[in-house]
């Protein structure tokens, strides 16, 4: 899936610590995370259960919880952690340059 293109998603300060925001690019939607430890991650924006924006969900430690049905994913790996989700979330590489967050899609 990844074709190696780095795109600028947001500024570092656009995301609060232990939070997530939505980033739309062309016809795709992504979720960009900042964990409590200050690490940044990126994944597909929709939950794999029903098409629902994970950016409305709560980040707790390394977990993102879908606000609709409380399915959970591990943020760094995208692994499905709690029913009803059973399909893993696709994740994308992230880098920080000049206080900007880039993701590789």
């Amino acid at each position: 899936m990844s074709n190696g293109i780095w795109i600028e998603a947001c500024e570092v300060d656009d995301i609060e610590v232990e939070d997530v925001i939505r980033f739309d690019h062309e016809d795709r939607t992504f979720a960009i995370y900042r964990t409590e430890k200050g690490d940044f991650f990126a994944s597909d924006g929709y939950c794999t259960h029903e098409k629902f924006h994970l950016s409305n969900g709560l980040v707790m430690g390394n977990l993102i919880e879908c606000p609709k049905h409380n399915g959970r994913f591990d943020i760094p790996t995208g692994q499905a952690k709690r029913a009803p989700v059973c399909v893993d979330l696709k994740t994308y590489p992230v880098k920080i340059e000049d206080d900007k967050v880039f993701i590789q899609i």
């Binding site: 629902f52 409305n56 919880e65 606000p67 409380n70």
Partner: protein
């Protein structure tokens, strides 16, 4: 070693989750699930929502399909009924004559729609919604231009009303109680919901008794109300609550109290028989052991998952926060926890994201939160409020009311 397996009566949300969890937690013996709808376990929430409205013919959203059942080695009787439990010899007898021996038994029998008892020749023609087959029947009747009457202003009735409006029906909702959403939803939210429905064109008849439901020559239905008015329509959908399915528990002489009575471990009066989901009432540790029964998707899922551990010997009390949600139009309403009319209510206005209402008990504990707003917009705040309730926090009322105060910080306090 007996070759007795785990038997699950009911193939809804609770039963299906329990079956999978038993395997996840390492049970290697037989698991047998008994369903009576002739189809694989599926999600019920969409039945009142997009599956009534979508242009494409809906298919059930399956929780456990054939492949998964085979992979997990779960036996499934798709269309049978458990008629008797022989508790002495640990067997369940099915209507087909099959005798299933069990090590532990789970009752996940759910609930059935409460039928409206009313005068008139059309009482039997009212539609009820519980199963996928029910949804298909209702879907066929809510066609553009049709006049649809909904009896009952609970979640199901309101969701069907919203779906019928989306399908360009003329909708009238009849509620005999003084307001809609009397059960478990605070008045502040109920008002917002009613207002949203009125904006969408739904007409309301509230606080008025139904005298009769008749079908006239030509097929038109007439609902005659006690105030002398009448609602004339082409279809009637009734959603006035559900009755726990306890027949099997009753003939098997298990204790009943507003459903199958279970303790905090979800065990019935027979320690080898458990119950989960809509069919059972249980004491809630967060609310002083108050006995409640929930008709809710998340509760069915959580209890189904939880009970599996206890069936395998874990003995962990079930204490998940009661939680409901409903989607109507572009709005979501959510309620978590249990509130009493004596609680103090504080509003946090999130502007475009909606409104949160916090319900605080006399001792200062946050006991419940409810919210209404555009789908998804208040979800983070709501989830944090749930965590505050679970923590039995006593936050200051001003802090709750002030959107500038972060709930995450209150949680850390």
């Amino acid at each position: 070693m007996k070759d007795y397996g785990m038997v699950i009566v009911g193939a809804g949300e609770a039963g299906a989750r329990a079956a999978v969890e038993l395997r996840t937690q390492g049970w290697t013996g037989a698991i047998t699930m008994i369903g009576n709808e002739g189809r694989h376990p599926y999600e019920r929430p969409p039945l009142s929502k997009h599956q009534l409205v979508d242009a494409a013919e809906p298919v059930p959203i399956t929780i456990l399909d054939s492949n998964r059942l085979i992979e997990q080695n779960i036996g499934f009787h798709t269309n049978d009924v458990a008629v008797r439990i022989n508790r002495q010899v640990h067997t369940v007898e099915l209507a087909s004559g099959i005798q299933l021996p069990y090590e532990r038994l789970l009752l996940a029998t759910g609930a059935n729609p409460r039928k409206l008892s009313v005068q008139g020749n059309a009482a039997k023609e009212m539609l009820y919604l519980r199963t996928f087959a029910d949804a298909i029947r209702i879907r066929e009747r809510i066609q553009p231009g049709q006049r649809v009457a909904v009896i009952g202003g609970g979640f199901i009735g309101l969701e069907v009303a919203a779906s019928a409006v989306k399908k360009s029906c003329e909708v009238t909702l009849v509620e005999v109680a003084p307001r809609i959403l009397m059960r478990g939803v605070p008045e502040e939210i109920a008002k917002l919901v009613e207002q949203r429905h009125r904006e969408a064109g739904v007409r309301f008849k509230i606080g008025v008794m139904i005298e009769s439901v008749d079908k006239e020559v030509g097929g038109e239905y007439v609902i005659s109300l006690a105030d002398g008015s009448a609602v004339r329509c082409d279809a009637i959908v009734t959603g006035i609550g559900a009755i726990p399915a306890t027949a099997l528990a009753v003939v098997s002489e298990l204790e009943i109290e507003n459903g199958v009575k279970v303790n905090e471990m979800l065990a019935t009066s027979d320690p080898d028989i458990y119950a989960a989901g809509d069919c059972c009432s249980f004491p809630h540790p967060l609310y002083g052991g108050k006995r409640i029964r929930l008709e809710a998707w998340r509760n069915a899922q959580d209890q189904g998952t939880h009970v599996a551990g206890n069936m395998l010997g874990a003995a962990v009390p079930y204490s998940a926060l009661p939680w409901f949600w409903s989607d109507q139009y572009d709005q979501t309403l959510q309620v978590a926890g249990l509130s009493e009319p004596t609680d103090t209510t504080v509003m946090r206005n999130l502007g475009d994201a909606g409104k949160l209402f916090f319900h605080v008990a006399g001792d200062g504990r946050l006991v419940s939160v409810s919210a209404m707003g555009p789908t998804g917009a208040f979800a983070k705040e709501f989830r944090l409020a749930e965590l505050l309730i679970e923590k039995q926090a006593r936050p200051e009322l001003e802090a709750l009311a002030n959107p500038g105060r972060k709930l995450k910080e209150l949680l850390r306090a």
